[in-house]
Every structure is written in structure tokens, then in C-alpha cells.
């Protein structure tokens, strides 16, 4: 369980960077209430820092006038909010039904051999984290995965090697 240390709003304003606050405020016009910005704020902070730490949760809560536990309940609910540190690039490997039929376990094993990581693990150099993800909507080109913002389809181990090699340089 996370422990949130009570601080004041000035601390939160100090903790969040100008860029983070600007990006959160840019979304504010889209919603009628401040606390509706919780997911947006988590995403903004994660985009800048890679993941959402306990301090980040506390700062977002103070900034939006919410309780830290309330923000953490949201943060821990969603697949794409990371409450633990992740590598520079997150590999989201689809393990839903069509990709399962068409070989996602082979890709998982291959990533294990090549990068030495399984689900939930990060490479020693901090480059990659591997996570399972639900159907990516690429089922007509299964198996599929995402690296960062990019979708890759019709994968076999050779194609995966090619993609990883091009990303390394």
C-alpha cells in the first residue's frame, strides 16, 4: 500500500512543472469539474516522468483538490497508467484470443531470450519493459504488439528481431 504524506498546495504547485500544469489546464476546458481531470493529470505526469510515483499521486490530488487515495484508486484501475517505474520503451504484447491462436506466446518467449524480460520486467539497461495488453484491434494482422506509440503487426520472431534492431540505433 502506498503511503501518502500530507503536504500543502504550494508543495504540489512546486512539484508539478510548468509544462505539466499547462498541459493539465489545457484539458480543463473539456470538463465541467476539476476532479474530472484526474485521468488527464495522471497521463500528463506519466508522459513527462515515465511513471506515476506516490509523490506524483499526492501532487495531482493536492493540485485538483482531491484526496490522494481517491486519485490512487483511479491510477491503479487503468491499464495504461504505470504505478511502478518502467523502461524508456514499453512493449505492449497482445495476448488476447486471436494473437494467442497465432503465436503471441512464441513472441513472448523470443522477447525473453533476446531481451531477458518477461511480463512486468524491465531490461537491466532500463530500455524496455514488457507488459501484456488486451486485443489491440489489429486482429486481422495478428499477432500484434505496440512499442511506445507504434503498432506492429503480422509478427514472427524474424520480423520482431528486425523491428528491435532498427529501434536500437
Amino acid at each position: 500500500m502506498a503511503e501518502f504524506i500530507a503536504r500543502d498546495r504550494n508543495w504540489a504547485l512546486d512539484y508539478l512543472t510548468d509544462a505539466e500544469r499547462d498541459e493539465i489546464e489545457a484539458e480543463a476546458a473539456c470538463y465541467p469539474r476539476r476532479d474530472s481531470l484526474a485521468i488527464e493529470a495522471l497521463r500528463v505526469v506519466q508522459n513527462h516522468r515515465g511513471w506515476v510515483s506516490d509523490d506524483s499521486v499526492a501532487a495531482i490530488a493536492d493540485y485538483l483538490g482531491m484526496g490522494a487515495a481517491q486519485v490512487d484508486a483511479v491510477a491503479t484501475f487503468y491499464n495504461l497508467i504505470f504505478r511502478e517505474p518502467v523502461g524508456k520503451k514499453v512493449i505492449l504484447l497482445c495476448n488476447s484470443v486471436v494473437c494467442w491462436m497465432q503465436g503471441c506466446e512464441r513472441l513472448r518467449a523470443h522477447i525473453g531470450e533476446r531481451l531477458g524480460i518477461d511480463y512486468g520486467e524491465t531490461t537491466g539497461d532500463g530500455e524496455y519493459t514488457l507488459l501484456p495488453i488486451t486485443c489491440l484491434g489489429d486482429c486481422d494482422h495478428a499477432p500484434a504488439l505496440m512499442i511506445g506509440d507504434d503498432h506492429h503487426h503480422d509478427l514472427d520472431t524474424k520480423e520482431l528481431d528486425r523491428i528491435l534492431a532498427t529501434r536500437e540505433d
Binding site: C30, Y31, P32, R33, D35, S36, L37, A38, I39, E40, L42, R43, A73, V74, F77, Y78, N79, L80, I81, L92, N95, S96, V97, V98, W100, M101, Q102, I133, T134, C135, L136, G137, D138, C139, D140, H141, A142, M146, D149, D150, H151
Partner: protein, 424 residues
Amino acid sequence: MERPLTGLMRGDGVALSLTEYRDGGGYSALEKALKSWSGEDVIEEVKASNLRGRGGAGFPAGLKWSFVPRTDKAPRPRYLVANADEMEPGAFKDRLLLEGNPHLLLEGMILSAYAMGAEVAYIFLRGEYVEPRRRLRRAIDEASAAGLLGRNILGTDFSLDLYLHISAGRYICGEETGLLNALEGKRATPRSKPPFPQVSGAWGKPTVVNNVETLCNVPGIVRHGAEWYRGLGLAEDSGTKLFGVSGRVRQPGAWELPMGTTLRNILEKHAGGMCDGYHLKGVLPGGGSTDFLLPEHLDMAMDYDTVGKAGSRLGTGTLIVLDDKTCPVGMVLNLERFFAQESCGWCTPCRDGLPWTRQLLEDIEDGRGSLEDLSTLEDHTAFMGPGKTVCALAPGAMEPLQSALKFYREDFEQHIREGRCPYD
């Protein structure tokens, strides 16, 4: 054959620009409706068209809109939300619409908002849909600059603010009341109904949630009329439908076809039939949460009522093919693992029953199962059946399981008898 949803799309996969869309007649339905129809006229035309919701349940769209209170004292603003969450395993149809012609969705949303009197609209888009996000952003900017969104649309007194919400991801976000909680920045736990969202939805205000494909049908209906639209379908249901096929077929993909096209036509003509060396063993007709159909159903018309009568659901219309070299127990185990993981945990049968179901299937698949486990699984399909839980995730999860237990019984029993998976 007319293809109102995809006919204008470019062959090279690039999204239609505003100019290209307009050159093809885009936004002419909006001009027509805003200048010469009332909102009620649009509702009546859509009702007459018999457009049914493409999100899975097939609820008549015009009827849903008519539940939104329109009196002067009714709460405001009213909201329209396009459900672009598309996280059903096997579904990839909305992505094609969002990527190929984002303006079609925007025109459909503006028309629908006008019909029901909504002042604010959201597109609820799943986070992994990065390319649709880019294309929607561009389309929204183009439409705003052209006076098609915002204040006084096309010089009339109708105004609409439209925003894009990027989801942080969970299957349950696609359930319409879970979606509303997610939109409000909360956990996406479904709400019990009533009250229905049309009366009390986002932030307690009247809200309509419609699937992307549903909304994309509206411009064609307004432009060419309800009668034209009904004529597009081959049987009872009207319009066209995006049908998709994935699995071991020669040409997986998606095609816009008349509602009521046969399963055989979709699988053999469009998807090119089974890959060499594979035979058809079954098909989930509408995504992971629908009941299996068998090869004997191949000549069935794919529309809501016919598929319903055969014991399954049209669902999303994206078919998942089960071939004879894939273990049906393993396939159902994969699906139940997904549903158990994606359960929001709010109600007991689903929160506890799905992990239990998954465990039983794991035992059988790994050769530790017993015949008694099969009757326990059958009990679960009853405990999590329709009406036993707050939302339809759990009953949906039971659909592939109950039909697999019926149709592929021998496969389950063989696992148990031999103490191993015969497909390994």
C-alpha cells in the same frame, strides 16, 4: 453495391481530408438537416430507418434518442458520447472508420447531437488507438475552422462543443455507464440502471452513448432517406454492416456488406476461405463475448434476429474463426482469462466467479480436470447469466463458454480422460 460507410475512403489508407469528404458529398446531410429539418424530424427519419446500435446490443438508435428529455425545464447541458473504446477481443471495425474517414463520424455526431438537442459531445477513444487519435484531432481542427463545430454551426443557431477523451484503458470502459464514470475521471465501475443515461448520465445530465459505427450511419440516412437505408439490408435489418474476420483464413480483414449477408459469403468470398491445411471448426460471430456458431450455420444471414435465433449474437460483427488445429478449451481459457482480468470487481458473481471459471479451465487444459469440473462450469454459466450482475460483462463472458461446453463437449472430455491437451 452501395457502401455509405466506406465507399468514399481512399485506397492508400490515408484519411479523407475535409475537402475530399466534402467533394464526395460530405456534410451535405448536415446542411440539409440544419436548414430544413427540426431535431425531431431527424429522430423520426432515423427511427423509420430502423438503424440499430452497432456497439453489440442492437438497440434502435432513434428510439434511444427519443428518451432524452426535451422540455424547457430538462437539465442541461445534454451530452452525446461516441463510444470508440473498441476493446472487445477480435473487434477492429471502428478503427477502420476512425482512420479512413474521421469526418463521417464527426458529421454523424453533429447530426445526432442536433437531433437530441445535445450541446456538448465527446469521443471516448481507447488510448492504444494512436493513429485514430491523430486523425480525429486533425479532423476536429478542420471542422472547427470551417464552422462545422463550435458556435452557430453553418450560420444557424445550433452550437456544439466536441472534445476528445483519451481513455487510460480497461475493457469495462466500453460499457456505457462504466464509460461515463471514466469520462468523469473516476474508476470505470458500471452504474446500476435505472436511471438510464438518457435521463441521468455524464455528470448527472441527460446523455446518449452510441457506438462509432452507429453514428457513422446517420449522415447517409439523412441524406438519402429511411427508405433507401432499409433497402440496403438483405433481410429484416436495414443498412450495411462492417463485417470483419480474423483467425486462420486466407485474407483476414473487414468489409462493408449488406446487413444479412450470409456467414458463408463473408468467410469464403471475402475472407478467402480457410488457410491450407486448416478446417473450420466454429466461429464467434460478434467478438469474444458471443456464443460459438458451427459450420452448419454457414448459410445463415448475419443480422440481429437471425443470429439471435441461432443462439448467438451479431455483437460487433467481427468474426473470430476457430480452426481444427486450435484447442477449443485453450481458446475459451484465453477468453475467460481476459474477462476475469477485466472484471471491475463490483459484483460478486463476476468478481469471484470469473477467476474460478478460469481456474477450472486451466485445470482441464493442463490435464488436471475432472468431469465434475464440467458441471461446475455449467453452474457458473447460470450464476453469471443475464440479469445476475450489474453489467453485461459477466453474461457476455459466459457466452463462448456455454456454447463451447455444448458444441465441443468431446474436446473437454478428452482432456479429462487423457489428462493432457490433445492439441499440444
